[in-house]
Amino acid sequence: MLASEGYVADRSLATLTYLSLTLNRPIFLEGEAGVGKTELAKVIAKGLGRDLIRLQCYEGLDTATSVYEWNFAAQMLAMRDGAGGEDIYDEKYLIKRALLQAVEPHASGPPVLLIDEIDRADAPFEAFLLEALSDFQVTVPELGVIKAQEPPIVILTSNRTREVHDALKRRCLYHWVDFPDFDREMEILTARVPEAKQALSLELVAFIQKLRKEDMFKRPGLAETLDWAKCLVALDVVALSPDVITDTIGAVLKYQDDIAKITGGAAARILEQIKQDMQALQ
């Protein structure tokens, strides 16, 4: 299923996805930026034909923006109008946000709920998620508990800018998403950027793989590889050279220190190494 949507997963990630679907447990994906964590949720939703509900976390995220909010203006009017006869805490005044939408029945089956970058949210929100994720229910004080008839497929991602509390992680299937190895990265590149020539892809992946072994602030992720490949294709580049790298390195490295280091000699050294390796292979 994952492969049909252009997602090249290793066996353990595939097993994990299967487990999550059979046991109804959320998946917790942790790893460096740009290794395909968010992509997994999108692919599962597409593959199963389910709706994808995305909740981007940030500090101060609260129930009003993540679960529900009352439509105060409409409630006010109703209260003045009906002189207290009608209940103003009715579902028609409820503005539903991501988490509430996720526990509601959907026409295409339970949706995929992506809680993205949970490490950006603060501890109170994490604590709130405990109820939502273990029983797939949310509480609206004025209405009561709303429970999902069919639990949604939940995927949480974290860039590890801080440690997420163990209590939350314990309720999930934990998976550390690592950088792919050479063969897998090649496979992903061919699947995602088919217009790149084989020879260029080989060179590019080899370069990125070597780059990740250097001492850097931010090692380039898979997303950067794909971006770079697209850049090079757009520029009609057929082979890497130090000049090309200097011109396009902004697609790969995002720290000035890293860029200075690579363009200042390391690029040529790595390229030379790759050429030697390739000759040795042939």
Binding site: R11, L23, E30, M79, R80, T161
Partner: protein, 406 residues
């Protein structure tokens, strides 16, 4: 090697126990869930079995390596299992390993070989027959005294005094709201609830305001030879801050550096100060050695800053700043560190000299990047630090010394 299906649940339970001994926390609920998961996936493929157990049991990236090692040992050699259950054999023949044991592997092997890991060699604790309760006047006398000049008994007393200290960190505006009578913003939800009670009339408009939030505290402490007399005291200081967390600061992250950077945050959670200090002592291997400030700050910036400084933080940098090599790198790393913090406070015991002037190259380089420069050589100076953080430090030497630099 595959255990028969009938004993599989037992084996998984034993496996979980082995993991606990290796330092991976595994709860009973997790074991039950793991059993269910194994049933769902089936016990046919080693990789799948491994993935299943790992996903159910591990919750932290740093436990992955330990898990993998315990897994490969446990499910390869059922003899281990036998030994663990009966505990009859004190020594286990580990399968021949050609390469040296990796750290996680040796921990795993240790957990396999005996009940609870070998007792570590602990440095003998100094036995001091002193009164635990120090009268106020005793402490008073001590406040002016340099930590360097204290006797062992005085050090114990100072340590006790440090434990009562308090850091008054500034607060910043959070993104969560609370009711406040004098605020400007109307809390619509509460307003509506109250109006409903009074039949639809808005009598009072409840107001809300952003609640103040605490900063994180990050401590980078130099433990090299030149800091010997102070580093132990500073460790006490950091530990007592970590124990009182949630008061005026949110979380405490501690790091030590001499020639290498060590993260001591997990050890700071031990309640008992002596146990914590002992654990730090065995964990950190470069006590009283040389110092490489630039490269230590560099590795902090690279590997930790994005994780511990992602929430607004005050950084306490405790070092004498006597760096000989790498002045250029030091400049760059200090600049980067300063960019990532709310406040970078430099605690320097060298400020005990009245005539101190920034002569050393390291100090001249670091000084422009810090927001405050304070002493930390006696109880008084620490007390000033804790009082002054919110209102402004009286004893901030930065401006005076910056004048001398020019």
């Amino acid at each position: 090697m595959t255990p028969t299906a009938g004993t599989l649940p037992d084996n998984i339970v034993y496996f979980a126990r082995a993991l606990r001994r290796a330092g991976v926390p595994v709860g009973t609920a997790q074991i039950l869930e793991a059993l269910r998961a194994v049933q769902a996936v089936g016990f046919t493929n080693r990789i799948d079995f491994h993935t299943t157990l790992r996903a159910m049991i591990v919750t932290r990236a740093e436990h992955l390596q330990v898990f993998d090692q315990v897994f490969s040992m446990f499910w390869r050699d059922p003899e281990f299992l036998e030994n663990m259950i009966t505990n009859l054999l004190p020594v286990i023949t580990v399968p021949p390993v050609d390469r040296p044991l990796k750290p996680a592997q040796s921990r795993a092997a240790e957990a396999m070989a005996d009940g609870g890991g070998k007792p570590r060699q602990m440095p003998e604790q100094e036995q001091l027959d002193i009164d635990a309760q120090f009268s106020h006047s005793n402490v008073e006398k001590l406040t002016q005294k340099d930590f360097d000049a204290m006797t062992a008994a005085e050090i114990r007393a100072a340590e006790t005094a440090i434990r009562t200290m308090w850091l008054n960190l500034p607060k910043f505006r959070g993104r969560r709201y609370g009711l406040a009578p004098n605020a400007v913003q109307i809390d619509r939800r509460i307003a509506l609830q109250r109006a409903r009670r009074s039949g639809g009339e808005m009598i009072h408009l409840p107001k809300r305001r952003a609640k103040p939030r605490s900063l994180n505290l990050v401590v980078l402490s130099d433990i090299s030879g030149s800091m010997t007399s102070y580093s132990r005291m500073m460790m006490h200081f950091v530990h007592s801050m970590a124990q009182a967390q949630g008061q005026s600061w949110a979380a405490v992250h501690g790091f030590t550096f001499g020639t290498r950077l060590h993260n001591i945050s997990p050890l700071l959670t031990l309640r008992d100060p002596d146990a914590a200090l002992r654990a730090i002592g065995t964990h950190v291997c470069d006590w009283e050695g040389g110092t490489r400030i630039a490269s230590s700050l560099g590795s902090f910036n690279r590997h930790w800053a994005r994780r511990v400084l992602s929430t607004p933080s005050v950084v306490l940098l405790i070092t004498d700043g006597l760096e000989r090599d790498g002045i250029v790198q030091l400049e760059a790393e200090m600049a980067r560190l300063a960019l990532q913090t709310r406040e970078l406070i430099w605690l320097n015991p060298l400020l005990r000299w009245d005539q101190f002037s920034p002569q050393a190259a390291g100090i001249r380089t670091m000084l422009p990047h810090v927001s405050s420069f304070v002493a930390c050589h006696n109880l008084d100076s620490l007390q000033e630090l804790s009082d002054g953080l919110r209102t402004g430090l009286r004893a901030d030497h930065k401006n005076r010394l910056m004048g001398l630099l020019k």
